[in-house]
């Protein structure tokens, strides 16, 4: 029996690491760094993030790597512990966003009919509001606990995930093999799990990375305005808020938490850019 060469242009699983460019590696390194910092936080922070160490605000102290914040606490320790808050909240919010948005989007595409029309209209209204406004309204109503922040962010961002996953799922639903499956008598859950989901997984995963960036920026922005994470919990966004007065005195204190956010979002963007440069152009055609 002769070997059949399927002519796959998918690279063999063994050398996937050669597909990642230099930008991608830098991104992965930075992400791993912050992930480790977040995981090991309490054990590697030199000082208690809530303790006042220096005697003067914004003082430069030999013991403190990045100096003191506006009430004398160690900025480096607060950045380390803040990583947990910021990353934790952002990840939770992004996962929730995807649970809501992708589930509803796929359901809308597979069920169709009134469910699809109804969900899409509601989604359009949500999409037509600027994110921050929607969040401000909800937070003004329900307060500023971490739970409210996660839930608000998820609701606000799920609308674009809904649109994206619905478009992707629609593309799959009109394919012949889905029609064949339906004729075969397969029910809707089977079609979703065996036909739709495997085909939309890749674009959704790369979109997950981008959403994580936006959500992190969003939550930091909310904390920065004062409506996100509340003090004294260390969080990168609220740390910028707390120390922004120091700018007028020439203190670099606000730069460090802002820079932490910037490095992380830059890293994720690098990785996503690297991945999407290699993947197919079908994604752009889906969105077009």
């Amino acid at each position: 029996m002769t070997e059949i060469d399927l002519g796959d242009d998918r690279p063999a699983r063994r050398d996937w690491h050669r597909r990642i460019g230099p930008g991608g590696w830098i991104g992965i390194a930075v992400i791993l760094f912050w992930a480790l910092v977040a995981l090991l936080g309490p054990w590697i922070a030199p000082y208690d993030p809530g303790a006042t160490i220096a005697d003067m605000p914004y003082a430069a102290d030999d013991r403190l790597l990045l100096g003191a914040d506006y009430i004398g606490r160690d900025i480096w320790s607060r950045v380390i512990i803040g990583a947990r808050t910021t990353l934790g909240l952002s990840l939770a919010a992004t996962v929730l966003t995807y649970l809501i948005g992708a589930t509803l989007g796929v359901c809308a595409a597979t069920i169709g009919g009134w469910a699809d029309a109804g969900l899409s209209r509601v989604n359009d209204v949500l999409l037509s509001l600027p994110n921050i406004m929607l969040a401000l309204l909800v937070i003004a109503a329900f307060g500023t606990s971490n739970l409210v922040v996660i839930a608000t962010t998820a609701v606000v961002f799920s609308s674009s995930v809904f649109r994206f996953s619905r478009a992707l799922a629609m593309n799959v639903m009109v394919q012949d093999f889905v029609e064949v499956a339906a004729i075969r008598g397969e029910r809707f859950p089977w079609i979703v799990f065996h036909e739709v989901l495997p085909n939309i997984a890749m674009p959704l995963v790369s979109d997950f990375g981008m959403k994580l960036v936006f959500i992190m920026l969003f939550i930091s922005g909310l904390s920065f305005i004062g409506l996100g994470v509340q003090p004294p919990t260390p969080d990168w966004g609220s740390m910028v808020r707390e120390n922004v007065q120091g700018l007028a005195y020439g203190s670099y204190a606000a730069l460090w938490p802002a820079g932490a956010i910037a490095t992380l979002t830059l890293a994720i963007n690098l990785v996503v850019d690297d991945l999407s440069a290699k993947s197919s152009k079908a994604i752009t055609q889906t969105m077009g």
Binding site: F224, A254, L270
Partner: protein
Amino acid sequence: MWKMVLKRLGIGVVMLFAVSLIVFTGTEILPGDVAEIILGQSATPETLRVLRAELGLDQPAYLRYLFWLGDLVQGDLGMSHARNVPIAELVAPRLQNTFLLAGCVAVIAVPLSLSAGLLAAMYPGTWTDRAISWMTLGSISFPEFFTATVLVLVFSIELGLLPPISNLRGDSDLGEWAAALALPVATLTISLFGQLVRLTRATTLNIMNEPYVEMAVLKGLSRRRIVFLHVGLNAFGPIVNVVALNMAYLVGGVVIVETIFAFPGLAKLMIDGVQTRDLPVVQACAMIFCATYVLLILVADIAAILANARLRHAR
């Protein structure tokens, strides 16, 4: 084609209604109403009842919504509870300031980004393209408060050229306005730059892959003529779409910038209102922002419909 445009306008009006409903209900869910806040310590059931009757808070919600909407449409934005002045007086100068800020950003960022995007698309893969790519990466990744912090540190602290926060008063002269606007405009321009350049570049490259562009090349037209005439005209619609969408993004971005620079704009007014639980102010500002956002998206969609001949007729 005009039917589609009219239909889109109709949807826009419906959206505005839906938005007003959301804005109204959003602020009504607030536990504890304004009467409690105004009276503060001296809030007894008696005084609360009197104040509520006076403020009209004892009427059922849907009536209050209709009254509010009616007033809004006539231009009466109500009274600020915290400061006891008509909101329209508060809003007018702030609105001017925010529009000034947004206008400056638009005038600077849009031509800059479009040129950069076109340049990158004209010479894809070259060092120009790569340099622009790196710049967009930074622009997209850095949050507004990071760029603002860096700009303040460089231009205010180290170089001492510009004030770190706006010190605008009613009688500030042109120079003070320019100085106050410089850093906020720069921050927002940097934020917009990345997204605008990337989308312009992608759209232009997409069009350049079309067969008619290949025909133009075969005809022997110069690269510049091809890009500006054949590609540019066809990219116009999608690019207007993108610009309008990004202007809408400014509505959100302006919130952060006004906070960090203490710029006396509409967003700062709204956030102050949220913090003092001044409901009418929050409602009025939210309504203005959301309406602007909806209008911009409307412009974007209509531009997309008008520009692409294929979209003009419903499928």
